[in-house]
Symmetry: C2
Subunit: 610 residues, 2 copies
């Protein structure tokens, strides 16, 4: 007789009410199960247990005992009712779980999670409670002098009170019987609140497609809520270039796009305030990131020049202005801080990625890639930081693809071709209606693995599900109409494959040029960090297979979610981190790919599917 | 034969097209002639020849040769066409002059002149012309960095460019082919203009009744234009107290009053820009003064607490904010500076009076009195400065007087009763329709001199034109209906006389209490400065006669016109003067009359007409 090691069991997780089942191996968490099934379970902290957002109810099956984070967050009643945090739960048997609506991301799946971090709480704002004596005929000081004198007594210096706070000072002091909380920002009193009232900040990541907003308690540093929404500017153009064109072609274009964005952000602010039961006047600081065009459109800066070589921003350095200047509804005197841009197409969002991934601190060789319509790439090696931007196009957003669509319910987000059997997985398990970015990447990788096309992307007649489509061009039938939600075939054309080739080639060429510039080979890379929404959902082996990334070991990849949003949160809770990234950005060596002599060659090389 | 000294001739000045004739003695100027005739000839500099606003054409008669100021300002063509400055011309014979419309103040006569001053030009703003190199593929700096680097090269330090200027930076740089004028305010770039373009500032005096706006060339310090207008807030209340009541009683009251004011000021800005053929973007700085309530309503500050004891302002210290924050149309990044207030009813306008009259510098004993609905009084003696405020009421504005009216055409502004003959003089020589402030003061003084009433103000039956009016009360018929513009009698009742008694008593009591507080007798006063619109038009001997001022020699009085406006101009062209008045104000000892034990006694004493 010989001993055999106990094999890891395969377990089934049945998720309700989304109606999705997934196989996991023992030791996996419910969060991982949800992620592998494409169920949009909100997880801000990336599974560390502190964001408390992935709450689920265990309906059936055996699981581990509650962990410390769960004991910290859930009370006895919650636990006895079966509530647990999905990231902390490892099933021991097949399980069925109920996912409450608030734990699911919005129907349009948005990426607002990110890896966690621990940095000391030291925001730009400070606060102090004051007991003032009211004016009398013997004490005729103006209201502002009364506040300033009390702050001086509390040890504050160089105190300023400016118009937005002066506008309400008399009423606030009297309504609160001279008992107030003063919030200061580098000597300026930016808010006067009732004594003891909580203070909060928001961090915002403005993507071309999606907005993410985090509410942070500035007395604890805790992220208390996060919400997402589509960028309403989509109505004026799907990508950055078409939005700049809209601004160029319409007299009030800049204002229109800015107003659309501000309105949506104000709704998100209202939403988090409602959930947290706080007033907007308690939001006393904000940090905003976005690509350079979004950054400029948010602040109302000119973008026309971003459409023409040499694509220079109006401003790169970090800027601060009052929220009221652009109509964001916060405390009357509150400011907004925008992280620095690096170049016309490497914006503050990438600066935030660099900040939250601590790229500059490492002694390793790391590529950080934020995949989007525009893909920003940074390479850190030997203590130097190179950045570039590639026009990867909207194919990964589902655009310019025959049956492409955004990551919404019914989108095919995962595809497998195994032994001639085609399996598709859709968001929310809905009947398939189209293919989103991660799905189209999977299709191309799987078609290649199944030898349905050559290395140029030409489909091969006679192979599995390859047929003549419109205009007699070959196409790959992915889902026949009878299995779809709209009763039309879902297929993939050679043009679709070429769109993906163009996109992945641009991204790969950018990586190769940074590596060449630094004199480094792909094998020398210690880590590839993939940030951003799309980057979170892609199948890394498939991405390697199509040549989007160099073929280094899969375990060297790190999918960090919304690292830009996390960077914005860090800059909100730590003034030092604002200064840190400002300094780091000054040393970034920006490579303008269009002027790089080898770019064309690298790009064409990267087109092949080998 | 004996020699006789040549007697001063009486000469006649015939003013057209206003159709007014006036007798002057030889040696008087045309400006003095116009003033004595109540013709609203604009004279900002008070007759020193540098404001160039009192331009007239000599149609007939002999006059002096052109003076140096005239030679500096008028060219050969002007002079040969007969154009001269009224303040510089002393007729040798009877003359006829044409007054061009632009030299006439608006139909509603407004006080926007003031005594001149000479202070070095050193405004808060500086400017420099820059030639930038445009961005190229080898030079990818952001637009703002390009400007900052050029400024660094020009020796500027701690340069900041903020949102309002960033919002247009890319367009401005390109439209001007990278050749620009940068305007800076303490390191902040507040405007980017085409290279070489002139820069201007505005000073504004916001009276409860009237607005005065001065346009100043900030490259020379010269006042290039001045305009006046009624304060549109009059529609919401004639005096400060009723406007505060409006704000208290209406949810959007504060905003309504602020918007009305801002709209009127923007029209004045447009007017001076049109006249000077400049763009509003060339106006890069502003200084604003007003009484505390006007100051607060202009800036959008709370005023409700000003209506209740102890009447404390929201803010006393000088404040600065962007013009754009309240909607004043100037350069996008321009700031507005508000001089400090002293107390709830001694505002920034009085601070400006103290500044322009240099009260604190003198070794003399001086009373400075700014007569209005609210009258502010300062006494400087032995190096200390006392200030107070008296509720003198609107009688001197023509309100609460049976036939009272504002200083508009047809208002009786001067009255003489000589040997039983009643003579009245109206503004613009129009048919009389009512009595304005200086007229009603004259009436009371002349009635008293003609013994038509007793020292309590009771009219004496049987005396000149004293008759029974409505409800059988005695009244003095000033102008019978057949000589008026509206065919109704213009008369003065005992109630009218009492209104003037109340007003002058309040003003006199304020003076007496300041004198008592300083331990000074009226005889010790070296000078009484009368500032403000009404103060310019009153007849000083008559004002002494009714007891409004102590009976010190007439030559000790100085009528300085709009000293508040002049203080605002000084603070505009000299940063040092802003700091100066801020420091001076800190040492002002404010006396709250309502808490002063002798106030009632002084007030009742001052009611008598002795």
């Amino acid at each position: 007789m010989t001993h055999t090691m106990p094999e890891k069991k395969n377990l089934i997780v049945d998720m309700q009410p989304v109606g999705r089942r997934v196989d996991i191996s023992e030791g996996s968490t419910l969060l991982e199960a949800a992620q592998s099934a494409g169920v949009g379970l909100v997880s801000l902290c990336g599974g560390e247990g502190w964001c408390e957002s992935c709450l689920v109810r265990i309906a059936k099956g055996e699981i581990n005992e509650p962990t410390q984070p769960e004991l910290d967050y859930l009370d006895e009643g919650d636990l006895s009712a079966g509530y647990r945090l999905a990231c902390q739960v490892k099933p021991k048997t097949d399980v069925r779980i109920d996912i409450p609506p608030e734990s699911l991301s919005t129907p349009q799946r948005l990426q607002i999670e990110g890896k966690d971090f621990e940095i000391p709480l030291a925001p730009i704002v400070e606060y102090v409670d004051l007991e003032l004596s009211p004016p009398t005929i013997k004490s005729l000081r103006a209201d502002s002098d009364r506040v300033k004198d009390a702050l001086l007594e509390s040890g504050f210096r160089n105190i300023r009170i400016e118009l937005p706070v002066l506008m309400n000072i008399s009423n606030v002091l009297r309504a609160n019987k001279w008992s107030i909380r003063a919030v200061l920002r580098q000597g300026e009193v930016i808010a006067l609140l009732p004594k003891g009232m909580g203070i909060f900040g928001i961090s915002v990541d403005i993507g071309t497609t999606k907005l993410a907003l985090y509410l942070v308690d500035l007395s604890t540093g805790e992220v208390v809520d996060k919400v997402g929404e589509m960028n309403p500017q989509i109505a004026y153009g799907e990508d950055v270039v078409s939005r700049i064109a809209y601004v160029t072609q319409n007299d009030d274009g800049r204002e229109t796009l800015q107003n659309a964005l501000i309105s949506s952000l104000n709704l998100l602010v209202q939403e988090v305030c409602g959930t947290a039961a706080i007033d907007q006047s308690q939001i006393v600081d904000a940090v905003v990131v976005g690509n350079t065009a979004m950054h400029h459109l948010f602040a109302g800066l000119p973008v026309e020049q971003l459409a023409f070589a040499p694509y220079v921003p109006a401003v790169n350095e970090p800027i601060d202005f009052r929220a009221a200047d652009i109509g964001i509804e916060m405390a009357p005197g509150a400011y907004i801080h925008l992280l620095p841009n690096i170049a016309g197409y490497v914006g503050a969002d990438h600066a935030a990625v660099i900040l939250s991934t601590e790229l500059w601190k490492t002694g390793k060789t790391i590529l950080a890639i934020d995949v989007g319509t525009n893909t920003e790439i940074s390479l850190v090696s030997n203590g130097s930081l190179l950045s570039c931007s590639c026009a990867s196009g909207p194919a990964f957003e589902g655009a310019h693809i025959t049956n492409g669509m955004r990551a919404a319910p019914g989108a095919i987000e995962r595809v497998q071709i195994i032994d001639g059997e085609i399996k598709t997985f859709t968001i929310d398990d809905a009947l398939p209606v189209g293919i989103c970015g991660s799905g189209i990447l999977d299709v191309v990788a799987e078609m290649k693995a199944a030898n349905l096309m050559d290395e140029k992307g030409a489909l091969i007649e006679g192979k599995l599900n390859i047929r003549k489509g419109k205009k007699k061009n070959l196409e790959f039938l992915l889902v026949p109409r009878e299995f779809t939600g709209h009763e039309r075939d879902i297929s993939v054309s050679r043009t679709d494959v070429n769109e993906i080739q163009l996109a992945k080639a641009a991204i790969r060429a950018g990586q190769e040029i940074l590596l060449a510039k630094a004199g480094i080979a792909a094998e020398d890379i210690d880590e590839i960090i993939i940030a951003g929404a799309f980057g979170t959902y892609i199948d890394v082996p498939n991405a390697i297979s199509v040549g989007m990334f160099p073929g280094i070991p899969v375990q060297s990849f790190r999918q960090v979610g919304n690292a830009a949003g996390m960077g914005a949160v860090q800059a909100l809770i730590s003034l030092k981190h604002r200064q840190l990234i400002e300094d780091v950005i000054k040393d970034v060596d920006y490579i303008e790919l269009t002027t790089y002599e080898h770019f064309q060659k690298e790009f064409i090389d990267a087109m092949y599917l080998r």
